[in-house]
Symmetry: C2
DNA sequence: CTGAAAGCGCTTACAG
DNA sequence: CTGAAAGCGCTTACAG
């Protein structure tokens, strides 16, 4: 058994007064005599009184806790976005219950249910790769619990969202290779599901089409895990086939780094013989030699924007009777960072 | 206002019975008739009943929530340790409230107080760099709230701890350079405070002393932020002074990567003219060319061990009257990974 | 200015 | 087998 902590009642008994009075004194109600107030304050301090937030949450119907569900924790993008979420939640007096879906739909459902039962004030989620249908989020609508999706969002679900324009960014990346003179541009894409990879693939195709370059299935590879290893292996495949690419657009920096290493392992010069561009602008892009040209993505800002939108909704909801406000959809800017690999 | 959620009372009214009966039926008490039980279960399902965990926490005195305080979120080591903490907390039915001290003592105090008021079942902490005295943790002792420290621990505070042997690992790293024939080994150390950097410095000195190599202050540099940039700048200083080192032990891989880049910028060959070893075995160590030799640290395992120790204490405490069990101190193994930079 | 009472959503010892 | 009552720690409308 853990030890008894001081409650309002303890203070009241010690002072021969009521919990009502103690509560009011502590909360600085106007209808308490100065003498009583001082006595209560003093005793509360002496007894190390700290309010029990469980009771407050139950009573007030507000916990000042926000639930977060992310696909992965030990991941460059998510830990940075999380940093943005936490710093700004902190500023506004909220704390975070952090959960992970580990990219599994089943876990995502479980975490959501838990956060719902926990009565968090709102939820921020980046969908699991497995998640296609988002029916499980309907319960939040039903009980008017604010939710904001970021990065891995669902197109059809109505809620506020923060993301980048993956298609446009991929278009920019691919067009950059075209402008640099590449004729045969390969794309090592992400898995079929998360919307991001699909959109990046679309941007790639759009740029090629616009420049009247035929899309060649031989030059398109699809990752499962989106790792350095996959980037390495696919690039070796690409570079040893008859129809070799002279440019590669990699779906992430991890894959791009693998691509550079693969080219080097075959004695192919980057950028002279092969130009490579990544996506994300993570630290590894600056460490690999030649440095990886990439698309910069505002990780921290994405998290920050998401939490600010969510808190705005939470606090709006406290005032109005019913939630019929407009959902916001913010698309944050990306930009190309030119380095040595192109 | 958020919408009303189904409570036991709602079900009871609908069924013309009492909340007591509903509660018991839901919890499968033996003294409920099968008919009632079925009816309750059915209605609960129909009305989408979900228990309110705030009420449970208040009633049971247990929240199944663990508070975590880490110095940084967007950090390779901490996000991996956190991954270990979360995965294993999950398995045992606990969730995490994640907070960060941002390496500030003041924030650490604030987060601790919050978690205390929140009545979490236990706390896992890695101390802020600023934290020297840990008096603020005494309150946990007073109320018998289990706490486990990991990585950045305090020597004198009595509680369970998980870490690695920084001194020994640093000794191994330095000795490795000596065995490779280095005569003048520099050390780019961390800031004066966190115990880790001090211990690593001790290990460095010990190895030199044992090999009768004099410790030369000219060869010792002290980082503030422990970044690639600092590693780069200090290494350039070291390599342009009269008394040049032929080996560098860097306090982290970040610093080690900066060191390699600095050597390259001066046309000094690694490992032929200068051998470099890092600490942590993070991804960047495998990406830099030449690859960085380093000390492997079990990030995920550290988190996993910490959470398992904590849950053990929490559950023990539920059974016994008072907490007088032994604190565990686990030192996890590290090992040297030889790569190209030595 | 003070305090008894009701209530937030649950559990459980106890009486019937 | 069922349910009224007390209680977890707080808040607040209301009566005095």
């Amino acid at each position: 058994m853990t030890k008894h902590r001081t409650t309002l009642k303890d203070i009241a008994i010690k002072l021969g007064t009521s919990t009502t009075t103690v509560s009011k004194a502590l909360k600085d109600y106007p209808d308490i005599s100065l003498a009583t107030k001082m006595a209560v304050l003093k005793m509360a301090k002496k007894m190390n009184y700290e309010p029990d937030m469980r009771a407050l949450a139950l009573k007030n119907g507000k916990s000042n806790i926000i639930g977060v569900i992310i696909p992965e924790v030990a991941h460059h993008f998510f830990s940075n976005a999380l940093d943005g979420i936490m710093k700004h939640a902190e500023k506004k007096g909220y704390k975070i219950i952090l959960t992970s879906s580990y990219n599994s739909l089943k876990k995502e459902r479980k975490q959501l249910k838990f956060l719902f039962n926990k009565k968090v004030d709102g939820i921020i989620v980046s969908l699991a790769n497995e998640t296609k249908k988002v029916k499980h989020f309907d319960i939040l609508k039903k009980y008017e619990i604010p939710i904001v999706m970021f990065d891995k969002v669902n197109e059809s679900f109505e809620c506020s969202k923060v993301s980048i324009d993956d298609e446009k960014s991929a278009y920019v990346a691919t067009k950059f290779l075209l402008d640099k003179g590449c004729k045969k541009i390969a794309h090592i894409k992400g898995p079929r599901h998360p919307l991001n990879s699909v959109s990046r693939f679309e941007g790639y195709k759009k740029a090629l089409e616009e420049h009247n370059v035929e899309i060649n299935p031989e030059l398109i590879k699809e990752c499962k895990e989106v790792t350095i290893e996959e980037g390495y292996n696919f690039t070796r495949e690409l570079l040893t086939q008859v129809n070799k690419p002279d440019g590669i657009f990699a779906v992430t920096d991890q894959v791009g780094v693998g691509a550079i290493q693969a080219a080097q392992s075959l004695g192919i010069k980057v950028p002279e013989e092969l130009k490579i561009i990544g996506f994300s602008d993570s630290q590894i892009a600056t460490i690999i030699r030649p440095n990886l040209t990439t698309i910069h993505q505002p990780n921290f800002e994405i998290g920050k924007t998401a939490i600010n939108m969510l808190i705005k909704e939470i606090e709006l909801l406290e005032k109005v009777e019913t939630a019929d406000f407009e959902y916001e959809q913010q698309i944050l800017d990306t930009y190309l960072v030119e380095r040595e690999s192109t």
